[in-house]
């Protein structure tokens, strides 16, 4: 019934290629999508399929692309600034200023979103306590573990109360308890009408929490729908489906090649 609402994101014929001298590398080859409020989208695909590129384009980090992207009814190319105010982004690879403390970092990011100092402080405190990070709030992050940095990144991604949240490998480095916390957070945000768009390689989690799974391979979306709709007789799990659709199903013969490599000589 949510589908009747107007979509949060529409993507029409999105193409992106990176050129380097003579070689041209086409990463996205024409993607068309409509994404509605309240959906949790699991965006999966093999390494190098174009997942991060898609997310970076949607967040405005890569500004030039072919095709049309509309978010909240506004064109991304011409109204990027307005759109960015309403989205959140959790980058991969732990990109943050680790010489700051979580408190300082959240204040910095919040100020960039134009939040008032008072409400910002309150919100940062609540987020820190939700993630169990109060005691580390004023410690420099260069000594933090990967998981603690990741939590700070997630907090900074939602500090502006975004309507769309993009996450790139959000669960990397998190311990099992934190994974549960993040899963809870995502479901709750979605039930409040926010759109969640996340990339992951963890098939079992994608299978469980996504309303809709997008499988991208070689620059094209090759599967789109609920897991129940997508699964076939041969693929009882998302992992198997993934392997089947992206050409990894002959893994048995691959293993033979591997053994051969070691046994010759």
């Amino acid at each position: 019934m949510k589908q009747i609402e107007s979509p949060h994101i529409t993507i029409r014929n999105l193409k992106k290629s990176f050129s380097n001298g003579k070689t041209k590398n086409e990463v996205l080859k024409g993607i068309n999508l409509d994404i509605y409020p309240g959906q949790i989208i699991g965006y999966i695909g093999p390494n190098g399929a174009g997942k991060s590129t898609t997310v970076k384009i949607l967040c405005g980090i890569i500004p030039d692309f072919e095709g049309e992207i509309t978010m909240f009814g506004q064109d991304l190319k011409s109204n990027g600034l307005e759109i960015k105010k309403r989205i959140g982004y959790v980058p991969e690879n732990g990109a943050l200023y680790d010489l700051l403390t979580p408190n300082e970092y959240l204040t910095f990011i919040g100020t960039l979103y134009g939040l008032e100092a008072h409400s910002l402080e309150k919100r940062a405190k609540q987020l820190l306590s939700f993630f169990g990070m109060e005691e580390h709030a004023d410690q420099r992050m260069d000594t933090f573990s990967k998981g603690m940095k990741q939590k700070t990144l997630i907090m900074s991604g939602i500090i502006n109360d975004p309507d769309i949240l993009f996450l790139d490998e959000p669960l990397s480095g998190l311990d099992a308890n934190s994974v549960i916390l993040v899963k809870e957070m995502l479901t709750q945000l979605a039930s409040n009408g926010k759109t969640i768009f996340y990339c992951s390689h963890l098939m079992d989690i994608v299978e469980k929490i996504s309303d809709r799974i997008l499988l991208i391979n070689d620059g094209n979306v090759i599967a789109d729908g609920k897991f129940e709709e997508l699964k076939t007789d041969q693929s009882a799990t998302l992992e198997q489906l993934f392997a089947q659709l992206t050409g990894g199903q002959n893994s048995n013969s691959n293993a033979d090649v591997l053994f051969k490599a070691f046994n010759e000589n």
Partner: protein, 547 residues
């Protein structure tokens, strides 16, 4: 210091907003950058308490250079000329520092993932970056002009001195605007990775020009004539930025008011409107450069790894063991691709022709005559000395941007670290010293004749021997394992002076050997060759600390 600087910037709040910048975001970005810088630096200098803050010692150097400049200009009586030259020098020095040291800060792409997804306009981001750089450039400009200011105080009144320091601030800002304008215009013509390569070449070119300039300009300036030179104002004088600032200062002497009022207006209007043009209209180009660099990471760079180059095969000739060959190949490949390695090595090579002219001082009015005269002297020994610059790449060998990758040396079951080092050193000698020294030898054979070839051969072999000795005497680290920051602690400087000292000894030896007949020199050369082989063996067998 951060709060003071931010307070100072806050005075211009209205102006900054006029440029189309979101002030609270701007201040947050600037504060963040300064905080990060301050946290990064002190920890470093805690670890080595003896060493001063590198930025501080840089400032002291700049201050003494600035003082020296004004002393040499002191005899100029024309105030406009004096200040035009002074501001020209300040601007050129600032531009060089900007291009060489702050380009990386301007186009820093490491925080792309943090910043570009936030609702920050290109204008705000660009101005924050510019101000961050201006913070340092301002200090450098102040250091450069500080002693000059004191010297000038003996000559002019207080009003002029105040105007002079204001002028320094304006010069710094004008230089910054022109530099960024140059970059943005350039980025429209040259795209992507090529843009970065091009900047590398500009940096190398500048390093050489500046080095040559330092040596040559004082020799050209004739101090006696300077006293009577007058700078008259032509239409094109209005096109020279340093003249604006000089005119801005002269305006306060209240002479020649008409012309000076024009300069005064230019000196204030250009920084203001220039900033509007750059921040308001060109900032989109800046955003595209940043976005491009994110994109570059995603593009695959095909390299001809399958078709190996000729030099990759040559290792069979020079390398004894498999591990040595590996060190050679690794070094060949990385030196070919690492932009920063090129940046630190190529200027050294560019210095060679400048040094050649400086040391030989040929008379350009009677070039053939002076070359002929040289043919009867011992000056070819200088060429042997110049070959030394070809070996300096070895000092850059340990440094890399990805020191983390050195875990392989610790974790892998392998202890032939010496072989990697000797292979790498051989590769560098082959790649940089060999062509440089061959070229130098050809030059000497043209000016002198084949008769000195044995001496050149001996000189080359001794230089190789010396650089190997320096490798063994130092706690040489494995190739490409040390972070680049360590480099700034002045170790390279000391090594360079030690090398130059040893080069003096080598030249003495070659001079002595020239008293022997040619076959005698060849026998000594054979002996040195043997020593080189032995030293290499020693490098290979030595145990190394892997840090």
């Amino acid at each position: 210091m951060i709060n003071f600087s931010l307070f100072f910037v806050r005075l211009f709040r209205k102006l900054i907003q006029l440029w189309g910048v979101d002030y609270p975001q701007f201040e947050a970005l600037l504060r963040n950058k300064l905080v990060l810088d301050f946290r990064r630096n002190p920890s470093k200098h805690k670890s080595s308490k003896k060493k001063k803050n590198p930025f501080l010692s840089q400032l002291i150097t700049f201050a003494s250079i600035g003082g020296f400049i004004e002393f040499s200009l002191y005899s100029i009586n024309d105030i406009l000329l004096n200040f035009t030259i002074l501001y020209s020098i300040i601007m050129v020095m600032l531009a060089t520092t900007l291009i060489n040291e702050f380009t990386a800060v301007l186009f820093d792409e490491r925080d792309n993932d943090i910043l570009l997804a936030r609702p920050i306009s290109h204008r705000t981001l660009l101005l924050a970056r510019l101000m961050h750089i201006q913070f340092y450039v301002g200090y450098i400009a102040l250091a450069l002009s500080f002693i000059s200011g004191i010297v000038l105080a003996f000559k002019y009144n207080v009003l002029i001195i105040i105007a002079y320091f204001l002028g320094v601030g304006l010069s710094a800002w004008i230089t910054l605007l022109f530099t960024i304008f140059f970059y943005l215009a350039l980025s429209k013509v040259i795209k992507g990775n090529k843009f970065k390569d091009f900047i590398t070449y500009v940096q190398i070119f500048l390093a050489v020009v500046i080095f040559g300039g330092y040596q040559l300009v004082p020799q050209i300036i004739d101090t006696d004539a300077m006293k009577h030179i007058y700078m008259s104002v032509h239409w094109w004088t209005y096109l020279i930025p340093p003249a604006w600032v000089a005119g801005f200062v002269k305006f306060f002497t209240f002479t020649d008011t008409m012309n000076m009022a024009i300069f005064f207006t230019l000196a204030l209007a250009v920084p203001f409107f220039g900033a509007i043009v750059v921040v308001r209209f060109l900032s989109k180009g800046f955003g595209n450069i940043l976005g491009q660099s994110t994109a570059d990471k995603n593009s695959l760079i095909e390299t001809r790894s399958l078709k190996e180059k000729f030099s990759d095969h040559l290792n069979r000739l020079f390398c004894v063991t498999e591990m040595e060959k590996l060190g050679w190949k690794l070094t060949m490949k990385i030196t070919r691709r690492d932009r920063k390695f090129k940046q630190s090595v190529y200027p050294m090579l560019g210095i060679i022709p400048v040094m050649a002219i400086l040391m030989l001082k040929p008379d350009f009015r009677d070039f053939t005559g002076s070359i002929h005269k040289m043919g009867n002297s011992y000056r070819y020994l200088f060429f042997i000395f110049l070959g030394f610059f070809g070996t300096m790449s070895i000092m850059q060998l340990p440094f890399t941007d990805t020191p983390e990758a050195s875990w392989i040396y610790k974790a892998l079951p392998f202890n032939q670290h010496g072989h990697i080092i000797s292979g790498a050193v051989k590769a560098l000698l082959y790649k940089f010293f060999f062509p440089v020294y061959s070229l130098l030898t050809i030059c000497t054979l043209l000016i002198w004749n084949i008769r000195i070839f044995p001496e050149m051969l001996l000189g080359g072999l001794l230089t190789i021997f010396m650089s190997l000795i320096m490798v063994t005497s130092q706690k040489t680290k494995l190739p490409f394992t040390q972070p680049r920051e360590v480099q700034q602690k002045g170790g390279t400087m000391i090594m360079m002076f030690l090398g130059m000292f040893l080069m003096g000894a080598i030249i003495g030896l070659v001079y002595l050997s020239s008293l022997l007949p040619a076959w005698g020199i060849l026998i000594i050369s054979l002996f040195v060759m043997g020593m080189i082989v032995l030293t290499n063996r020693f490098i290979r067998s030595k145990k190394y600390m892997i840090i």
